[in-house]
């Protein structure tokens, strides 16, 4: 049977239309190349819109002491020194330019009194640094980039008569495979979600900008799109993933009702007096204060309650411990059977504050839960638990070019690239990460195409890719994709979640392997016309690879650092700090190997106080004082 295939030829294919993808496309088009942008949903709906806080850039508009070096230090500290130093450096240096550029494209940030871009404080940032627009900064960024693409298309229309002559957006299209010839990228294969028709893209360079992997987990703040497509496509194309064990969990995401499951409850709810209790009504956080924090956190309710009115003479309530501590505590309570039936605990702000005060201090929280779920936080407790929020791990790339290591022609930027954030991402660093490395990926891909020229796609590669798309309808295994997705989420949630142990991780790896066999038997009902079951069958494939990579990396890393907590290895290890876990795919399974982390060069090493580095580095490293 021959299926008619739609063919397109472009210089560069950008997969993903969030902040990073659009920024890459703009750069490539400005370099004079023809670009196709692939968008899994409608244009402008990318998960970037969910970013609320802001975009971190050391413009120094609010505090002029800020500069790239301070920002660099904060980023490295946040990532517990597992970051690729060069990415953190480039990010800190180039972020201000990326923000200013947005303004020239029509973005309207909130302003300071002098009329400059206003910047706000955020956790982990030494100075007010986050450019923002209320609490919808991500929307502003995506809309600005979207409108920049339109502006370029208008210019092209004036010149060539065709708006899509140099940039074309392929909305609601899924890429299922990256094609290679002679070891280099030659194109990609996929299908239109609207009608299931297959599409072949011939392109010598591909930029992956597909975002996160949250949908691999049961409770996540990510949308359905966060299925790790770019991670999986890269793995299958022969590229590596770095440090996939690092996932950022927010301690208080809603777990119930389902309409708001995964939506974050901001830390200020706890700051304003929100109290965590288990199903026995016990305020359990007092049991979980680690020794190092004993002098800063109250060990009894009376003192904790007094802190809200008198912060100078009382220790803080333990609800305000760092994110990972709170997550760990909630997790332990649930595992001990003191959680709600939905796997959470109660967070209650209604007992301490009056309805008027809550509405005044936490307006958007109140509004959001009331409108989306009918939960009135002035009257009742919220059911919360740790929520998968962001993946620090991702495609291993060359920092300066965002080129995927090992696959000429493949680039990755944004959340799907690894290295930048180390073991833990600072709030606000994500939006500028998209812009800085989106631009670099676009620029480098353009340079690559100009020197490497075109490639051919072989008929056999196309046929293989096409067979894979047809498979879910022709198979007879009878597995339901929705059910398998739920099972995968149960495995990751219970065994690869926020607190990990070797036995559970080993168990997870076995279960994931079993699931892989069943996923091969997925059968889809209906036809190819906009069929979500059909779509999910491909997403599942990707999520399975992510889960495997995460579980296998996590079982190897015998320490706790940032977004990776091992109950059996609760401390940071200076040895493990020097190691990246590298995942690769051999066609049947993910293999993880170790690779030394690049050493800080002397001029960056010298930006830190040696005493601070003692916590992270071995005496030998400290003695050496960075590379030359």
């Amino acid at each position: 049977m021959t299926i008619e295939i739609e063919r397109h030829k472009y210089d560069i294919l950008v997969i993903g239309a969030g902040g990073a993808g659009l920024r890459a496309a703009v750069e490539a088009r400005e370099a004079g190349l023809r670009v196709a942008i692939i968008c899994k949903s409608l244009f402008g709906k990318a998960h970037t819109v969910m970013a609320e806080g802001g975009a971190a850039a050391s413009m120094g508009n609010v505090n002029e002491n800020d500069n790239w070096m301070v920002h660099f230090r904060d980023t490295m500290r946040g990532g517990k020194f597992l970051n690729h130093y060069r990415m953190a450096e480039l990010h800190a240096k180039e972020s201000p330019d990326r923000i200013w550029e947005l303004e020239m494209w029509g973005a309207l940030f909130d302003r300071t009194k002098e009329g400059k871009i206003s910047q706000r404080n955020f956790g982990g940032h030494e100075y007010p640094r986050l450019a923002h627009v209320g609490d919808r900064t991500g929307l502003e960024l995506i809309r600005t980039m979207q409108q920049r693409i339109v502006a370029l298309q208008q210019i092209d229309k004036a010149e060539t008569g065709n708006a899509e002559s140099n940039i074309k957006v392929f909305a609601e299209l899924t890429i299922t495979e990256i094609l290679k010839e002679g070891g280099k990228v030659s194109g990609a294969y996929g299908y239109w979600r609207e009608n299931g028709k297959e599409v072949l893209f011939e392109a010598p360079a591909i930029v992956l900008a597909t975002g996160g992997v949250g949908k691999t987990f049961k409770i996540t703040s990510n949308s359905w799109e966060g299925t790790g497509d770019g991670h999986a496509l890269a793995l299958k194309a022969g590229a590596n993933l770095v440090d996939m064990e690092f996932l950022q969990f927010h301690p208080t995401g809603m777990v119930w009702p389902p309409s708001v499951r995964g939506i974050l409850v901001t830390e200020s709810v706890r700051g304003e007096g929100g109290v965590l209790t288990n199903t026995n009504g016990e305020r359990f956080m007092f049991k979980y204060i680690p020794d190092v924090f004993k002098d800063k956190y109250a060990d009894n309710e009376a003192e904790a309650d007094r802190w809200y009115v008198d912060q100078d003479n009382n220790r803080r309530p333990p609800e305000l411990l760092p994110r990972d501590e709170v997550s760990r505590a909630i997790n332990s309570e649930v595992k001990a059977g003191r959680g709600t039936e939905h796997g959470g605990v109660f967070l209650d702000v209604s007992k301490r504050l009056s309805a008027e005060v809550i509405k005044k201090r936490l307006p958007s929280m109140w509004h959001q839960f009331y409108e989306l779920a009918g939960v009135d936080i002035t009257k009742e407790a919220m059911e919360v638990g740790p929520t998968c929020h962001y993946v620090m791990g991702g495609v291993e790339v060359e920092p300066d070019t965002a080129a995927a290591v090992g696959v000429p022609g493949l680039y990755a930027a944004g959340e799907c690239a690894g290295g930048m954030h180390g073991s833990n991402r600072l709030g606000g660093n994500s939006l500028t990460d998209l812009l800085v490395f989106g631009r670099r990926a676009g620029m480098a891909a353009a340079a690559y195409v100009k020197s490497a020229g075109t490639t051919q796609v072989s008929q056999s590669a196309v046929q293989a890719a096409s067979l894979r798309i047809q498979a879910p309808f022709t198979r007879t295994g009878g597995e339901n994709p929705y059910k398998l997705h739920q099972e995968l989420q149960e495995i990751t949630h219970n065994l690869v979640g926020i607190i990990r142990t070797k036995t559970e991780l080993d168990d997870a790896i076995v279960k994931i392997t079993e699931l892989r066999k069943r996923i091969a038997n997925i059968t889809v009902s209906g036809n190819r016309e906009f069929n979500p079951g059909f779509h999910l069958s491909f997403d599942l494939d990707n999520m399975l690879l992510i889960a495997e990579s995460t579980a296998k990396s996590a079982v190897l890393r015998e320490e706790s650092r940032g977004g990776h907590t091992r109950d059996d290895f609760p401390k940071m290890s200076t040895t493990w700090r020097q190691i990246n876990n590298i995942s690769s795919f051999d066609g049947t399974q993910v293999n993880v190997s170790q690779q030394p982390l690049p050493v800080l060069p002397k001029e960056l090493f010298d930006l830190f106080d040696p005493h601070e580095l003692e916590k992270y580095m071995t005496p030998e490293e400290l003695a050496k004082g960075g590379s030359n």
Binding site: M104, G106, A151, N531
Partner: protein
């Protein structure tokens, strides 16, 4: 806590379609999108629906629920009385693709027709200085999540397919207003274009766009009417026209 819901979901495609009765369980606190997902996972695996963030921030799950244009993720099941049938259809102003998914490409075409932001010639990144009060009006319009519910409910195109070529719709009137009120934009013919090319005059300010906006943008009062007044300044006000001629002659402008 769970209750049984009687849904009537429109299923079909370009050629044909009909409302299909579905009985599904709903839990306390769920929104219509949750229920649709349950139908999808348990009964109609291939039911087509668009959605992304499920938090009212991306504007993907636009549909019509009991005849009203709404975001399914922002419509609580509890807002419907026990036992009442809930009718769910695709947007009725746009061509249907399948089930609850419509072809909204009209909006992207219109976006292409609005001239983009144009900063002053020679201005460099980092140079702009704008006061907060000067950006606030445009910021309101930039809250738009492009759910296109305003476009769907606007009778100018909902009820008159033939107007689609000459009418940009409320979403793009706020875009034009945003740019015309942008402190840095230098294009001065936006008002004229709005009236002559984008069909601002077709709007009879019946305010349905404002009523359906999930972001509570005051589309009519803050964008469309001010733009209509700005158009009057340029095109229909003889005194201002005379004034501008005189000022031009005296070299004031």
């Amino acid at each position: 806590m769970a209750r049984k819901l009687n849904l009537r979901i429109w299923r079909g495609n370009k050629e044909s379609g009909a409302l299909q009765n579905v009985i599904v369980e709903a839990n306390e606190g769920e929104v219509v999108l949750d229920v649709i997902h349950r139908v999808q996972a348990e009964q109609l695996n291939d039911l087509a629906v668009r959605w992304n963030c499920k938090a009212g921030k991306c504007g993907s799950c636009s549909m019509e629920i009991n005849g009203k244009p709404r975001l399914a993720c922002m419509t609580q099941v509890s807002s419907f009385p026990e036992g009442e049938e809930i009718t769910i259809t695709p947007l009725r102003a746009f061509p249907v693709i399948k089930d609850l998914v419509t072809d909204v490409s009209f909006n992207y075409k219109k976006a292409m027709e609005i001239p983009s932001f144009q900063p002053p010639v020679g201005m460099k990144p980092g140079e702009p200085r704008m006061a907060q009060v000067d950006v606030e009006r445009s910021q309101e319009f930039r809250k738009c999540i492009e759910c296109f519910l305003c476009q769907d409910t606007c009778h100018v195109i909902r009820d008159h397919e033939e107007n689609k070529s000459s009418f940009a719709g409320p979403r793009f009137f706020i875009r034009i207003a945003e740019l015309d009120m942008h402190p840095l934009d230098i294009l001065r013919n936006r008002k004229k274009k709005a009236q002559e090319e984008h069909g601002l005059g077709m709007c009879n300010i019946t305010k349905c766009c404002t009523e359906v906006c999930p972001e509570h943008i005051r589309i009519t009062d803050n964008a469309i009417i001010p733009m209509k007044e700005r158009v009057v300044d340029e095109k229909y006000d003889p005194l201002r026209w005379l004034g501008s001629k005189i000022r031009k002659r005296e070299g004031i402008l």
